[in-house]
């Protein structure tokens, strides 16, 4: 399918593919096995300017948007979702600054992020606050020129490896969701440390850790937007980043199809390559069709975000939901097409299947995405009937 990409967009896609093929594919199995953070690949991405894709030119980036980011994420995800998660989580952590930061904050942080000199992580989830972000217990108490942070963030992607953290904490317990605020915290700040590194089913090259705040003092200037804006910052951030999770789904699904196709053309049973059997053909046809539909939806949502549309919540939730459910189905079926070989670590599809699972869970489970979409439908329908 031709999505009429511009010359620059094709360039971005080609470059991301080249990095995926030359730098990621040869090491993905080892990174997965050893749970090793992909610093070498991050360096290559930095040198290639890909960290600056979605950052405005005035802050050292290339001034592109969610769509170009999705193209890069898709290509990396074809090779390894663990690597793509590390890259995409960097964007997730950057969005609060990009969308709500002051010019001063942007000048201070964005150039280093664009150059890939500093990685970023986003800290929202806690032990008692997952799907219910209202359960956040980390607090930020105003104290003279400072805020004092206390609490523990859980399962934070790029935790420990990143230099810059955008964190949501409660500034006013009495105000519920309106009592949360967003902050930027730098690694090395006294009172800020890291808990254990998690061992995971998939995306094992990515780092997932606790962020521990014990009387961590940060300057007042480190608040992002105003006190009480924390939830809005978090929600708008996720609205922008979810299309990227969809792109991860499209990428890993395509990667799995490519492997399954290659295998099915070579594997001979009953005297014929198995691809000559309709049972296999129909599976591959469905996999390819669903993946193409997911790609079209993700691209449409990303372009909608870049159009400057005011409310992109539903579009990005749909893209995330559909593309990642497709990714799980397609990677599972790629293993099925390849049979025993698919189940073995000798082939990359078992890893793709393990990696795909997280996409249905992180940045809002797919059940939460359905809630978000349904709420938007109800709101729209109510508004329409009021108008009558």
């Amino acid at each position: 399918m031709d999505y009429f990409l511009s010359e620059e967009q094709l360039m971005i896609k080609d470059l991301a593919r080249q990095i995926a093929v030359e730098k990621v594919v040869p090491v993905r199995e080892e990174l997965d096995e050893k749970e090793e953070f992909p610093w070498e690949i991050m360096k290559a991405l930095a040198q290639s300017d890909l960290f600056g894709l979605f950052i405005p030119e005035q802050y050292g980036g290339l001034g592109k948007g969610a769509f170009e980011l999705a193209l890069a994420v898709e290509e990396l995800s074809k090779a390894c979702v663990g690597v793509a998660t590390t890259y995409a989580a960097n964007a997730l952590g950057t969005y609060p600054l990009l969308l709500f930061g002051t010019d001063e904050q942007k000048k201070k942080y964005l150039p280093d992020i664009a150059a890939g000199k500093k990685l970023v992580a986003f800290g929202l989830t806690e032990a008692n606050a997952g799907s219910d972000a209202g359960g956040i217990q980390t607090t930020a108490r105003a104290d003279g020129d400072h805020y004092v942070l206390n609490g523990t963030k859980q399962w934070i992607t790029n935790g420990g490896e990143a230099e810059i953290y955008t964190v949501i904490a409660i500034t006013d317990k009495t105000r519920g969701a309106r009592g949360a605020s967003a902050f930027v915290v730098e690694k090395g700040t006294p009172g800020f440390s890291f808990g254990k590194k998690e061992r995971k089913m998939g995306i094992r090259a990515s780092a997932t850790r606790e962020l521990v705040f014990e009387d961590c003092k940060i300057p007042k200037a480190n608040i992002i937007a105003r006190e009480g804006m924390g939830f809005i910052v978090a929600m708008k951030t996720l609205d922008n980043s979810r299309a990227g999770v969809g792109a991860q789904g499209v990428g890993v699904a395509q990667g799995a199809i490519d492997e399954a196709l290659k295998f099915a053309r070579q594997r001979v049973q009953f005297g014929h390559p198995i691809i000559s059997f309709q049972a296999i053909q129909h599976m591959l046809a469905d996999m390819a069709t669903e993946t193409e539909a997911a790609r079209a939806l993700v691209y449409a949502a990303a372009r909608y975000i870049d159009s400057g549309a005011k409310d992109v919540t539903r579009a990005s939730a749909m893209a995330k939901l559909f593309a990642t459910d497709v990714a799980m189905r397609v990677t599972t079926n790629a293993v099925q097409v390849m049979g025993g070989s698919g189940y073995m670590k000798e082939y990359p599809v078992e890893k793709m299947m393990r990696d795909a699972k997280i996409l249905q869970i992180y940045e809002g489970t797919n059940q939460i995405q359905r809630n978000v979409i349904a709420q938007a439908l109800i709101k729209e329908s109510a508004a329409a009937s009021k108008g009558k």
Partner: protein
Amino acid sequence: MRIVVCIKQVPDTSEVKINPETGALVREGVPSIINPFDMHAIEAALSIKEQLGSSAACSVCVLTMGPPQAESALREAVSFGVDEAVLVSGREFAGGDTLATSRALSAAISKIGADIIICGKQAIDGDTAQVGPEVAEFLDIPHISYVKKISGISGAVIRAERMMDDGHDVVEAELPCLITVVRELNTPRLPSLKGKMAAKKIEIKKLGLADLGISEEEAGFKGSPTQVKKIFTPSARTGRRMAEGSIEEQVDAIIKELMERKCL
């Protein structure tokens, strides 16, 4: 500081076939690439530039001689971060041997100006490894070939390790100087997006015979004392045998054979 990198566009030998009748390379439909050793030369230039920092006002210029389509190799070099590109081109340069090629390249370098000239150790199609040193001779400057490490550049001196069969020499030379580099020196980088965008837009400077002040007799086929008489694929040697059995038995068999042939 000005660095000139000499590159050559060559057929991708991993894809190349040989015409069994003429013995010549079949170039039709074979993709062209930057000579792999020259990729290391480009990387060396870019890392020198990075190490010197902006204070040294260092620029990297890439130079090639070839047909108009060699422009694509120059543009690719720009995508890695090279600042300027120069193409020496013209019918008169066709069919040149290493002498004629070096003469033309050195004339171009004199025009461009250079403190350091970097070449790959050899091209994978010709394999002579002569052009780099010959360019240095034409320019009457020192050269260090087979460089596997650049230890430092301070003031007007470059210090480098030259790869030898039994280790390496540490060589110092005054600038301007030419070096030829081996694969062990570095790992070539991937292109960058800003580089790719620059590569599309960059204006490639073109130099012809008149610009270089070379006569027609000194260029290309006419200026080449070496001429290729025949290219052929050597026939495979036959009569090979494998010794069998345990290691001891194999060694015994070989010793016996060598003695029979009066080699021992």
